[in-house]
Amino acid sequence: MDLTCDFFTLFRLAPRFRLDVAALAARYLELQNSVHPDRFAQAGQAERRLSMQWAARVNEAYRTLKEPLARAQYLLRLAGRDPEAASGALAEDTDFLMQQMEWREEVRQARQERSMAALRELRQRLAREVQAQYEALAARFDDEHDLAAAVGQTRRLMFQEKLRAEIDDALAFLEDAEDAENAGA
């Protein structure tokens, strides 16, 4: 095993989209337990450096495999289909883009009106939609093995996750503003 082996091999998991999160977490701890720099505090310099590199690699692998979107992107990259590079794939998907713009407009409005209730409602709706997309994506990857379709789906999810992060940011911002007011600063 060397530092450049892929994340699934490193974690001894099958390269699939559906994965056992508990097994992933357990494997993560086992790996860190054997490579973490704290285990090499008294070792020679070469070993200390290697340990840092390995621990960083294991962290990166864990982060990538844990998040479903990152995992999907990684699976596609392994298959030589970088979703970020597939420009234009979405351009034809005008329905989706229109819908995204509507979402965005709703978020903008809720933020402007400082309506946390509206933002929370949007967040929930989006979460349901995203969940359905991930389930579909899992089928593309693991059942149908249709990578071309997975690329499109993944790109959509990239938009939706971005949107979700924006809603979260807006919510956080409003919460903070509210707290600051309550503190009577």
Partner: protein, 664 residues
């Protein structure tokens, strides 16, 4: 049970003997030293039996320094040369300090000298950087530990606020180096507290550590399970602590008593009284504040708990906002937290206790000494890292508090490693040139969450030169960020087009260059130049001995991973180094260490590989397959991995072409 064997000065301990290690809590107000004795973590007291070492340094005209209580006695009499709360200046420029403490200029009687990078202070013993001042505190801590343990420390764990940025961490490391300490690890203060608390209480589940000290505030959310301390998120404010509560009372006093402008001496005197009143209020409803000023005026006021709570309300609120943010980052709700561990002297304030209880909907845990718990955790970790196994082993997984990135076109920040990423971390990103024939690229490394570079902390700037002539956008420059287990960053840039390579390695070191540190080391060894040389030789010898021991231990364990010829080469290198250690040629020792490191590189690789194979061999294959097939996908969570905004995502090539470089 750990037994310490005391070795004569100059004689190196044999590998099987327990080696001396300590934990140091380098606090804003108070520092502490602790060690593990007979399997028990203990705080080391001074000769008068006092556990605290006040973080106060007073310089004298003869160039010497007093540290601790002795220096504290001079606070109001010699404020300019008596430095308190120096930790707040670590890794900070004059402008940061002026901004941070703007409202309270009266409180800072020092004469700041603007220097590139870090602010310095003019004292009667010369201009001092916060790193040197902190080093005085560390030297005192070291002396205390060595007196107790009867020998030289093999190394220490020093704690830093979790929210310390790279500049502040680097400054702390530099201070340790000046104090002649070998640092095994910089450990985050709340994580240290979690170790002490967790091991003591066999705690499992999600815990929060709320650490409000003299000058800093940290909140960390951890997952504790058997043998693992995993930090999920951290947050805080490295300029928020008891000092700010003091300042609020100070301002209140100025207003109530309608005081005219004060001398530094009087201002400091009031600060001392004000702090006493604050601490008194933790147990009483009212506190008298009586001060006789040098101007003849007398301040005679009474502060009640209600008023105190009111004038400090927004300080407490600031901590709660950080708590919320950390919980959000950890994707947890307050009710999912099983316990809140209170750390730091300032958590004794009743309004803080109430606020934390309110935020988490449960009474915080106060069953440990908020002053000592960080030092105890540091000692326990030091004992683990030095290799004095007590049978129990644990794994500590920590994170970086603030995102790391670099400047791209238009003064925007491009995040490379996001906040709360587990460390060690390494991540690379590719950039390209902006102009035809561009021969150099300037790289500006920053830390912070804001979009504009101007709002983030600038850590380092460097230039990658020697890019071969190419059309704009053709160069492929790979910038790699690496954060080690101390949370310290190093950055590398490299041009990767066919056959051409240029590489620069930068360690952002705030303000102090290696040369400056070397000069300070020489200064501190003072009068005799020889002293410094002897010390450097000694350091090399110790380091070499350490390397030999580590290599021999590795050979004992895993010699079968090597061919006879490889063993012979390593043994030759060891023997050579062993001989050189006895001599006094530092250069030769260093070179021989390099040789040995070179000879063992492949061995290290094989050992690491074996470790990984073993780690994975524990699980049965069917078990894995079953898990993978049956589990549903994880709930979707936001990912910061990619960020289209409103428009279709740019392709990788577009992205790198538009990402930019300011040429030189």
């Amino acid at each position: 049970m750990t037994l310490f064997q005391i070795s004569e000065p100059g004689e190196s301990a044999a590998p099987h003997e327990a080696r001396l290690a300590a934990g140091i809590d380098l606090g804003t107000t108070n520092s502490l030293v602790a060690t593990v004795k007979s399997g028990m973590a203990t705080v080391l007291n001074d000769e008068q039996g006092r556990p605290l070492l006040p973080s106060i340094v007073r310089y004298l005209p003869d160039g010497t320094a007093q540290v601790g209580y002795e220096a504290g006695d001079w606070q109001a009499k010699d404020p300019r040369n008596t430095i308190v709360s120096v930790k707040r200046f670590m890794g900070r420029g004059v402008r940061d300090i002026a901004y941070g403490e703007a409202l309270h200029g009266e409180m800072l009687p020092y004469e700041f000298v603007d220097a590139p990078g870090m602010a310095r202070l003019r004292t009667c013993a010369g201009v001092k950087s916060p790193v040197e001042i902190s080093a005085e505190i560390l030297k005192a801590a070291r002396a205390r530990a060595e007196a107790h343990l009867g020998g030289e420390l093999a190394g220490v764990v020093i704690t830093v606020p979790a929210y310390f940025d790279d500049a502040q961490r680097q400054a702390t490391r530099d201070a340790a180096r000046l104090a002649g300490l070998n640092v095994f690890r910089l450990l985050n203060e709340p994580t240290a507290a979690a170790i002490a608390y967790g091991l003591d209480n066999a705690a499992e589940g999600i815990y929060a550590v709320y650490d409000l000290g003299g000058g800093t505030f940290d909140i960390s959310i951890l997952k504790l399970s058997r043998g693992v301390f995993e930090v999920l998120a951290t947050g805080g404010d490295s300029a928020l602590g008891g000092d700010d509560f003091d300042q609020r009372i100070f301002c209140w006093v100025l207003e109530e008593a309608r005081l005219p402008p004060l001398s530094s001496e009087d201002a400091r005197l009031i600060m001392v009284r004000v702090r006493e009143a604050k601490e008194f209020l933790s147990r009483h409803d009212k506190a008298p504040i009586t001060v006789k000023l040098s101007s003849g005026l007398t301040v005679d006021l009474t502060l009640d708990a209600r008023t105190f709570a009111t004038i400090t309300e927004n300080l407490v609120a600031r901590t709660l906002r950080a708590v919320k943010k950390a919980l959000r980052d950890a994707k947890l709700l307050p009710e999912e937290v099983k316990g809140v561990v209170m750390v730091g002297g300032s958590t004794r304030m009743p309004q803080v206790q109430r606020a934390v209880a309110g935020a988490f909907g449960r009474q915080p845990l106060n069953n440990l000494d908020p002053d000592k718990v960080v030092a105890l955790g540091a000692a326990i970790q030091a004992n683990l890292l030095v290799g004095n196994r007590t049978g129990e082993d644990w794994l500590l997984l920590d994170v970086i508090p603030l995102s790391l990135g670099l400047e791209t076109m238009g003064g925007l920040t491009e995040k490379i490693i996001p906040r709360n990423a587990a460390i060690p971390a390494a991540r690379a990103q590719e950039f390209t040139t902006f102009r035809d024939g561009q021969a150099a690229m300037s790289i500006h490394v920053v830390q912070g969450e804001r979009e504009m570079v101007a709002d983030c902390r600038s850590l380092a700037r460097f230039e990658l030169k020697g890019i071969p002539p190419m059309v704009a956008g053709a160069a492929r420059i790979r910038v790699t960020f690496q954060v080690d287990a101390d949370g310290l960053l190093s950055v590398r840039a490299r041009e990767e087009t066919a056959g051409v390579e240029a590489e620069v390695t930068v360690k952002p070191s705030y303000g102090l260059s290696d040369d400056e540190i070397a000069a300070m080391l020489k200064d501190s060894a003072a009068h005799a130049r020889e002293d410094a040389q002897r010390r450097a030789l000694k350091e090399a010898q110790v380091e070499a001995q350490r390397l030999i021991e580590a290599t021999e231990a590795a050979l004992r364990e895993d010699v079968r991973l090597l061919a006879a010829e490889e063993i012979a080469r390593i043994e030759t290198a060891i023997a050579r180094l062993q001989t050189l250690i006895l001599g006094d040629n530092r250069r030769e020792i260093t070179l021989a260490m390099d040789d040995l490191a070179y000879e063992t590189q492949e061995f290290a690789r094989r050992r690491m590989d074996q470790g990984i194979q073993r780690a994975l061999a524990g699980k049965r294959v069917e078990e894995l397959a079953r898990g993978a097939a049956s589990a549903p996908p994880m709930p979707a969570e936001p990912s910061g991995a990619f960020a289209p905004s409103g428009l279709p995502a740019p392709s990788a090539s577009e992205a790198s072409a538009s990402r930019p470089e300011k040429t030189t």
